[in-house]
Point group: C2
Amino acid sequence: MVRGVYGEGRVKIVDVAAAAGVSVTTVSHVISGRRPVSAATRARVEDAVRRLGYQADPSARGLRTQRTHTLGLVVPDITNPFNTELAAGVQEIAFTGEYLTVVCEAPMQGPGLPAVLRRLTARRMDGIIIGRYGAGRADLDLVTASGARLVRLGSRLADGPGDVVRAAETEGMRDLVRHLVRERGYRNIGFIGGEQGVEPGGERFEGYAQALGDAGLTVPEGLVAWTGFTREGGRAGAARLLDAPHPPDALVCANDLIAIGALDVARQRGLDVPGRLAITGYDDIDAAAMVTPALTTVLNPAREIGRSAARLLLDRMEGETGPAREIVLAHRLVRRESA
Amino acid sequence: MVRGVYGEGRVKIVDVAAAAGVSVTTVSHVISGRRPVSAATRARVEDAVRRLGYQADPSARGLRTQRTHTLGLVVPDITNPFNTELAAGVQEIAFTGEYLTVVCEAPMQGPGLPAVLRRLTARRMDGIIIGRYGAGRADLDLVTASGARLVRLGSRLADGPGDVVRAAETEGMRDLVRHLVRERGYRNIGFIGGEQGVEPGGERFEGYAQALGDAGLTVPEGLVAWTGFTREGGRAGAARLLDAPHPPDALVCANDLIAIGALDVARQRGLDVPGRLAITGYDDIDAAAMVTPALTTVLNPAREIGRSAARLLLDRMEGETGPAREIVLAHRLVRRESA
DNA sequence: CTGAAAGCGCTTACAG
DNA sequence: CTGAAAGCGCTTACAG
């Protein structure tokens, strides 16, 4: 029977020391490996740790070391598949480093972010990843002032403190639209964005506009709609653009959900996709490959973004003190049926 | 300029006490409200807390109180939309109670679960929710022996220690299949399950079998396939059943992903759904309403399950000592186009 | 209504 | 190679 697991009261470091016939100092050093211990002593201690099922108390350790071994991740919407993948990537790396991860939701707009950040800094996170745009300078300073390491997702290094991880959004959209123009011959290409002014809508729009410019085209008059990053937004945007005087032959959407909404409208109006109307998404969430026709889209490497962000944080916590870094991840065009 | 936020070194309770001209005892009591403090003193202390931006150190507090104010949630797959909703529900309640939530992934089979559980108990979670079937008695005992409160999801109260939250799975499937038989007149109804022996496949199968029994029907020979809870599993299962000597006129699937895979096969074979073949899912994940035809399915109240589990845990941590409880949540039939 | 002091369980200078 | 002891920042009996 393993005491401390089945017995009353937890096993403490003094119990291990007594069992091994050494001081707590030595037990601590065997566990941390921060100072040489003779092989014989080490073996006795390790044996005692195992027999007693000793696990150091994280609060006691944290109080002494001023570290919680915990990471915070803040995203606008936990249930969004993109953020879920992101979180999975963070967890994957954090877990191997014996860190725990706390994922919190904070709405894209409004006062939610500082409140959530304060909660996280109050709990002394060792590192915080802000996985959303729209974090102001004051929000970011809240994090760094707390002593937590900071990684921002999506924005640019110049926008504030901490390291940055982002995908090449503009380039991704440019490649997609270039494909539409060059490979598929579409000419009158509309754009449906999310909420106006909310990233990554702007960057994706820019890629779209660049690709048109590169092809000697301009953004068609009246064929840009800003709605919301949802299926409903896609329906509203598609309906509006298809009712324009010169309706588009292709609809480039700022994300997959919007594209799925656009698909609804096309189906409802009996428009063949991609024969009569091409529709493209962005992100490549699971649903993109489930709808009919399957979406042509751009893979946004959510999991890899999460992994990179967590690695950056772990590096910093292990003492890496170099200048701020920016990691830009490649996108990938995913050609399916809708364009 | 708020010291402790922008200054070097954090504000400690002694700093607040000095600023307010009282003892740390009094500051502590003002914050916790655990003993009466005169209005004037309280005001001075609260003012000092605000001015200095004081936030108690969680490690110090935890060391003293033996609580981490943290909840753990273990699920088989973080990226599964059902689990994501579940986690969102847990977080929602935990957050209002000032608890942080750590979501961990542990594979459905294999030695992953005890390892993850050990990690969580090592970190002294105040409560743990096991959101997956297949947790053995030893796993559960690991949790309770650590002192953490336990809530199990999905299984029955009799299966082990802790409180239980579950949805009425069998009843949900029974209602769905009853609908198929009575309202829609299907007679030769096949079943595609997940991995054999992995819940909630068994409970759902039982509901299917019960509904057939109630209608004087039996489970049709050769029309049951156990594959996996994935789109791929659905494809394999549907292909097999449709090649049977007496192919089914309806395919009841153990979850939505399986149903989406079955839909793939129907489309590929040119089978009209639901005219020639009905297909149903279970869970009502977002994608269920995105595919064509939209899935008829059963809503599995993931978020509410999460909320209930978290509430149970918070109650217990506030001292609730009654006997173990089991909360059973209602399902809801969602009629769409596929059946 | 308020305070002095013990003690939670670790890690880490300091000393030998 | 090893140990005695200070101290991390709180909460809570204990005392008045």
